[in-house]
């Protein structure tokens, strides 16, 4: 049970959140401009490193915010997304 810090609600149990996948790559602005290979790569090959990763979480049973957190997959250490810092 992770403890995730919501910027609006503070530290809350993971059970209030819904996992939304890796946040490292944004959806391409214009998918139609991508080659088939690049689109498939974006869609099906998310990296899964051991170490810090960016993740989307939805505070579904809280304020409803989609937040981005930086979680270390080795230690579970969670920091706010540095882009916002």
């Amino acid at each position: 049970m992770l403890e995730i810090c919501c910027p609006f609600c503070g530290r809350r149990n993971e059970s209030e959140f819904s996992y939304g996948g890796p946040a490292a790559m944004r959806r391409p602005e214009r998918p139609e401009d991508l080659s088939a290979e690049d689109w498939v790569e974006y869609l099906t090959v998310p990296s899964n490193p051991l170490g810090p990763v960016l993740e989307h979480w939805w505070h579904a049973r809280g304020c409803g915010a989609w937040i981005t957190v930086r979680r270390d997959t080795g230690t579970h250490e969670i920091k706010p997304d540095s882009d916002d810092a």
Partner: protein, 981 residues
């Protein structure tokens, strides 16, 4: 044997004035308040208390704590629970317990025959011996033979499970010397402290030993510490509470057993702690020698506990076998209790003088080992071997053999917090190094094996924990305690003389040193593999007394140092936990509440058969009248809709309002088809894809005004769509001006459908012009229906003329009553979800979870027109295009008419070429008895189905092949003139 004949005359922490009666395997015994089941049995001289898991060897009580590998019992009656270690069951008056693994009793166990078949049951025997013709043939028998206790049956009378959440600055696990010291210091610094201990009484090892603190018995110091903690309002102390797991971010899971009776109340605490102090002490290891599992062979630490805490003399004549100093105190303690301690057998050549002093003059055989224990149902003697000559040198008669293989710091919780361990050669044990979480070990759990060291270490760790949690640093205040020496020489096993003598490394699972070597010979190198192959270290006790011996044997066999070998993972739970306690009150509708609409009571009164229909909504399935069957009721309801009028409650439908300048853009991105071109007041069917080009949901979108939309979703997918739309808004397009509001429960709707629907709405009284010219299909109007403010939508899921009347929930029940009144002369039928399924199948409309199963795109469903707009981007579009370019055959939506019109095809049946047993080419997604066709009809997804219209497909069901003609997927009013009427 006289009752309680092994109870010592005085001493101990039991209350002799409160005798308790209990039953064990059907016989009556007596114990005292303060006993455990184990201590009470031992006080009655009962050492043969169990039969082992695999070989059904006689077994006894081995320890005094949660590490017990020997005796598990099943509690009967109101306390019923399975597989409880006898050492951890507090004795209560009227307690009934029985041994597991034996029938009819441990004395006369029929399964004992397995001892003579032992040669057939080596490690991994079930993978090897019982494979032909199929493991499944043998599995039930083997499981029955190997089973532990039976699961409690029936209701738990008066038993309560609950979950509590709590927070702490410092959570201290273990109320022994280190834990008490840590809790005292952290609490004095002002931290919110939670102190939990698995025993009812605080003190830990201090309850068992005879050290002195500040010149007094240790109980004095414990009492003063508890008094001080009780006087502080920043401290919460839980007894009978086992911390059984540490999860991410310092969430500790603690099982509290409360109440007078052992099974009466189980409370699972979930404590989020800024700092956790693991002061769980150390657990004594067994020594591995021939027949080390005989009843009467016990851990040396258990003797301290039974003599000092429970006032039980474990035998008359004892031998102590050790490789370290701590067992000398046990020998001395037994001698003081009047037991004849015949010898201490120490594998070391040199024994520290301080240790010898503690043994109080008992004869010491240095450089010797016990090579074998004798006796079957009770140890009767030992053979001693000299290590220098390798020869047996002495036989000693005894009825009690204590052994100590050294001490393992109880690092389980620390390890679960992702703490690293290191093998310490001086202690011959794994000790904690560092955790990635704010968890620290104190005292023996951290490798401090002396009382003074533990007290000081507890103070240090407690102070540091408080400082780290933001409290001031206070000086340590330590009592004066002895600094007993501790030294050890690793001894992983004593080679037995001759075959057929078993040396157990895992007593619970009947794993021997030979099994470990066999696993290594068969190619299992890694400790985790050996564990899985032999089951050594698994099960109820999780190998607390034996695991490190297994590692030692593996390391020795492979010529490795233990530091190179690593350990198996310490997994939670640390001690067995009841499922009921984990669930707490969260079961059934409490775990996931049902959703209801305002007419639930009406539905029940009307006799509806109600069940869950997606997303926890309780909906009426059908409304039988009198003795109607399901089929009869559904047919009547469907005919009412097709020929007259029906009404159903569509309230659970997902509903979202999107508002803002960019609402159109968001919908344009979310839906595969164009939404922006929709005129205010009009609606359009839309399909939402995920970016892998598969259908996520479908529904109708209405444009309420220029910048305001109402999007409806399927009932089951409403939450998923909400998440999806919010993701687009907040993550993909945060710059857009649009707000999304879920209004599912703000609008209830009654959908009146059938050729006479318009008459009903007129009869209700409305200011909306219902003429089809001014209020056509796929438009909506705001107005009053009956006296209620309403939004009326013209959509249709049944294929009939329909008015979806949306009102506020407070008005809904009244609206419903009015509809039934006005509709009565027309024979209006309330319609359940079963009939809806029939009606939509006749029309070929999609249903989530049937045709839309997460593998299809709009083309597959014959709705390629959805994708035909000249939109640049919408979610999923790119993937659909790529898939179409690939040209691989797809499963396409078709209608199916069983050649025998009275033959139903079970929904979900596979379609295969000619019905052969081969790869499927599709499946039947829906099959209903059509009221318009008066025969069974079906929908299905069939490979290249559209090109096969007119041909025959075959459903393969159990024992039959059902041929069906492939037709277009619409059986009723394909032009749509009815629903537009």
């Amino acid at each position: 044997m006289m009752p309680n004949s092994y109870r010592l005359k005085d001493g101990g922490r039991i209350d002799r004035s409160k005798p308790l009666r209990f039953q064990f395997n059907g016989r009556e015994y007596r114990g005292c308040q303060g006993d455990t089941l184990a201590s009470a049995l031992l006080a009655n001289g009962i050492h043969l208390t169990a039969r082992s898991f695999k070989y059904h060897r006689p077994r006894g009580i081995i320890s005094a704590g949660c590490e017990e590998p020997g005796t598990f019992v099943e509690l009967l009656g109101p306390d019923s629970s399975g597989n409880r270690a006898a050492t951890m069951v507090p004795l209560a008056d009227g307690l009934k317990a029985k041994s597991v693994n034996c029938w009819p009793s441990p004395e006369f166990d029929l399964g004992g025959i397995n001892q003579f078949l032992a040669g057939l049951l080596p490690a991994g025997f079930y993978y090897k011996t019982f494979m032909w013709p199929s493991w499944r043939l043998y599995e039930p028998l083997i499981r029955r033979a190997a089973g532990l206790a039976e699961a409690p049956a029936g209701e738990f009378d008066g038993r309560e499970f609950e979950t509590r959440h709590a927070h702490a600055d410092v959570l201290v696990v273990g109320a022994g010397p280190a834990g008490l010291s840590a809790a005292l210091h952290a609490a004095r610094a002002g931290a919110r402290v939670m102190l939990v201990d698995e025993n009812a009484e605080a003190g830990g090892s201090l309850l068992d030993g005879r050290e002195r603190i500040d010149g007094a018995a240790p109980g004095e110091w414990v009492r003063s510490a508890i008094d001080e903690l009780a006087g502080m309002n920043n401290v919460r102390r839980l007894g009978n509470s086992t911390a059984w797991g540490i999860r991410e971010h310092n969430l500790a899971l603690i099982l509290e057993r409360g109440g007078e009776k052992p099974g009466a109340m189980l409370r699972n605490w979930r404590v989020r702690a800024a700092r956790i102090v693991v002061a769980t002490g150390a657990i004594e290891r067994t020594l591995v020698f021939a027949n080390n599992d005989r009843p009467g062979v016990m851990l040396a630490s258990a003797a301290l506990a039974y003599v000092n805490r429970f006032a039980v003399a474990l035998g008359r004549k004892a031998v102590v076998f050790t490789n370290n100093d701590s067992a000398y105190a046990s020998a001395g303690c037994l001698k003081n209790a009047g037991i004849d301690v015949r010898a201490i057998v120490d594998c070391r050549r040199n024994v520290p003088e301080a240790a010898k002093l503690r043994a109080d003059g008992v004869r010491i055989l240095r450089g010797c080992v016990v090579s074998e224990a004798h006796g079957r149902k009770r140890v009767s003697g030992v053979t001693v071997r000299s290590r220098s000559t390798g020869e047996d040198c002495e036989s000693i008669e005894c009825d009690l053999l204590l052994h100590s293989g050294g001490w393992n710091p109880a690092v389980h919780l620390f390890s679960q917090s992702r703490g690293d361990l290191r093998f310490d050669d001086a202690l011959a044990a794994y000790v904690p190094v560092a955790s990635s979480h704010p968890v620290a070990c104190a005292g023996a759990a951290g490798g401090r094996m002396t009382l003074a060291g533990s007290l000081a270490d507890g103070a240090r760790v407690g102070i540091e924990a408080a400082v780290a949690a933001g409290f001031p640093r206070i000086p340590a205040a330590l009592p004066c305690a002895s600094e007993d020496s501790y030294s050890i020489e690793a001894l992983w096993n004593v080679e037995p003389r001759g075959a057929g003598r078993k040396c157990f490394v895992d007593i619970l699972n009947d794993v021997t040193d030979g099994d470990i070597r066999l696993a290594l010979r068969e190619g299992y190198r890694n400790v985790e593999q050996v564990k899985r192959y032999t089951t050594g270290g698994m099960g109820l006790d999780q190998g607390k007394t034996g695991n490190i011996n297994i590692l030692g044997i593996i390391a020795a066999a492979q010529g490795l140092a233990l530091s190179e070998l690593g350990t198996t993972t310490f997994r939670s739970p640390y001690a067995p936990v009841e499922f009921g306690a984990i669930g707490g009150t969260r079961s059934g509708p409490v775990f996931l509440p049902y959703r209801h609409t305002p007419v639930t009571a009406w539905n029940i009164a009307r006799g509806a058969v109600i069940y869950e229909a997606g997303a926890r909504w309780r909906r009426p399935g059908y409304f039988p009248i009198g003795a109607e069957t399901l089929d009869e009721a559904v047919e009547r309801e469907c005919k009412a809709v097709r020929n007259g009028v029906g009404v159903y409650d569509g309230s659970p439908l997902g509903k979202f309002e999107l508002n803002g300048r960019d609402a159109s853009k968001l919908l344009e991105l979310a839906y595969a088809n164009s939404i922006e071109s929709l005129k205010p007041g009009r609606g359009r069917y839309g399909i939402m894809l995920s970016d892998d080009g598969l259908i996520l949901d479908d529904g109708v979108v209405f444009r309420l005004s220029k910048s305001r939309y109402l999007a409806t979703t399927s009932t089951a997918n409403a939450d998923l769509v909400h998440r999806h739309l919010e993701f687009i808004r907040q993550v993909e397009r945060p710059e857009w001006d649009v707000k999304i509001t879920e209004v599912t429960s703000q609008w209830c709707n009654a959908t009146i459908c059938g050729p006479q629907a318009r008459e009903i709405v007129e009869g209700l009284g409305t200011d909306i012009d219902l003429d089809p010219e001014s209020f056509p299909f796929m438009t909506w109007r705001q107005g009053r229906v009956a006296e209620f403010s309403s939004r009326v939508f013209r959509v249709s899921f049944t294929g009939e003329l329909s008015f979806e009347i949306n009102v506020a929930p407070r008005d809904f029940a009244a609206l419903w009553d009015r509809i039934m009144d006005v509709g009565a002369p027309y024979g209006i039928a309330p319609v359940g979800s079963e009939s809806n399924h029939v009606l939509r199948t006749e029309k070929g409309f999609l249903s989530l979870g049937h045709e839309v199963d997460g593998t299809v795109d709009p083309y597959d469903l014959g709705m390629g027109w959805i994708m035909s707009g000249n939109k640049l981007d919408s979610i999923g579009r790119r993937s659909v295009e790529l898939r179409r370019q690939g040209g691989a055959p797809r499963r396409e939506l078709v209608g199916l008419l069983p050649l025998d019109p009275n033959m139903a095809i079970p929904e979900g049946s596979p379609l295969t070429p000619e019905g052969r047993k081969t790869r499927t080419e599709g499946f039947v997604s829906a099959c209903v008895k059509s009221v318009v066709k008066e025969r069974w009809i079906a929908l299905g997804l069939l490979e290249r189905g559209r090109a096969r219209i007119g041909q025959t497909a075959h459903a393969r069901v159990k024992g039959a092949i059902i041929p069906a003609k492939v037709v277009a997927p619409c059986f009723y009013d394909p032009e749509g003139s009815k629903l537009r009427s």
